[in-house]
Amino acid sequence: MALLELKNVSMVYNGKVRALDGINFSVEKGEWVAIMGPSGSGKTTLMNIIGCMDKATGGEVILDGIDLSDIGADKLTEIRREKIGMVFQQFHLVPYLTAVENIMVAQYYHGLPDLNDALTELKRVGLEDRANHLPSQLSGGEQQRVCIARALINYPVLILADEPTGNLDEANQNLVMKIFHELHAEGHTIITVTHSPDVGREAQRCIVLEHGRIKL
């Protein structure tokens, strides 16, 4: 069975803006899929639905055997906490917490914070020596790597990244892509959203959106 399956998913905002319209696709365990498309085509909307932050107004979304279409908000939060690791274009690190504390925040909501686990995860993205630095003391690329470490800390079944390299220069972009390759090699399932054809090519498979539909 596929890890993620979307059947005829649609999303209508405020009863009139049709952001997604009849989306069908599935992602197997261990796959790396890129979602591409022009601005306003519905990529972020799709990520919100897959990431359990929003519910589709139509169709079915099945994640790891759970149908997301007919569960309540609290349950959705729980699934998001247990199964999803998210990487954001704007990093979204808590400004007054150090790198390692930012990772521990995610642990805290999941269960018990553990300093050693958090440090191990930082080491994996090559930032063990920056553990006690504030986000403002880190470069964009470093912040994004902290963000990736945070996404990985709770062993998610699916990693979602919306424009993970959108705010990075080429050197940092390559560093981040290298980490995604490593994660993919370790068997993680990854969905990345990107404008950039270069980044898109790194994934195994590309899904292109246009006006809320999949372009074939």
Partner: protein, 360 residues
Amino acid sequence: MLIALIAVAVGATIISGMVTVYREVPQQLGREFRAYGANLLIIPANEAATFDENKIQNVREVLSEHEIIGAAPFLYERLEINKQYILTGGTNFDELQKVSPYWQLEGNYPAAGEREVLIGAQLAKVFSPYEPSEIIGQEVTISAGEGTAMKKYVVSGIVSTGGKEEEFAFMNLDDLQQIVSKPNEISIAQFSVVAEGDSLKTIEEKISSGIAGIHPQLVQQIANSEFNVLSKLQVLVLLVTAIVLLLTLICVTTTMMAVVTERRKEIGLKKALGAANENIVREFLGEGCLLGAFGGLFGSSLGYLFAQSVSLQVFGRGIYFSVPIAILSIVLSIIVTGVASLIPVRIATAVDPAIVLRGE
């Protein structure tokens, strides 16, 4: 956040200050009121004319929980002074000054052990119609009446009281008791006790049931007006406290709202990371209560200083730091910030985690 902290601290300052004043003012004012004279009279029971002056000590024991400003014994007898019958009071002038500090004196009170007499202002006019004050320092003859020994006394001063005492003469109690041969007897004792309406009533009951031969009487007029002024003052203090609490509430709510708005992204992120609404509620309420605790702690110490300075300036008397009041104002601050956080917390839980993916 700092502003909210200050608001809470100011609130707590005023609350603890007000509560302290509220608690202390009746006592302090009660003490002030004692300047208007005795509030408890002890007279002989069963229509007897006099009672044993040692009963005063028994009454003092019954009053041991209260501060006694003074207790003045009086024996009233009719004496012949310069051939005229004058109602004369024998008393202890030290205690008299404590009980009736409002008596105005020209000259001096009779010294203990001296043959001196104090003359009421009206009486002085009788003795010396043109220049009453010339009587001071002059000798008068005093006797218990026709056919008794006459003694010479020196007038030590003239007293004005605004009452009928101005027609009397006063001398040391021992002297009078000796002249009329009534050792240890007194006709009335005036007490000035620091106590409010209700506790005065209890005192009255205790004395009348506990000590034989005497009858206590409250000076109703003073007790009542004291009670009225105090209860009005207390209502005022309560009102001010309630308003301050309300203002603190509003200020904290506004600040917490601003904090929530400012941290919208952080809240969204935490939710995206899987924070449940309970987590968010706990964080903000916790922060609010911490704010309340610190503000309260800070404020209650300031409040003590505030109440202290009020007490020192208005009553010229210090107060003790009260732990219950400090705890009360800290708890109140925590409750106020807790309540003030409710609306902001609701706003926080309503934040949509999806904002973190939108490029806002």
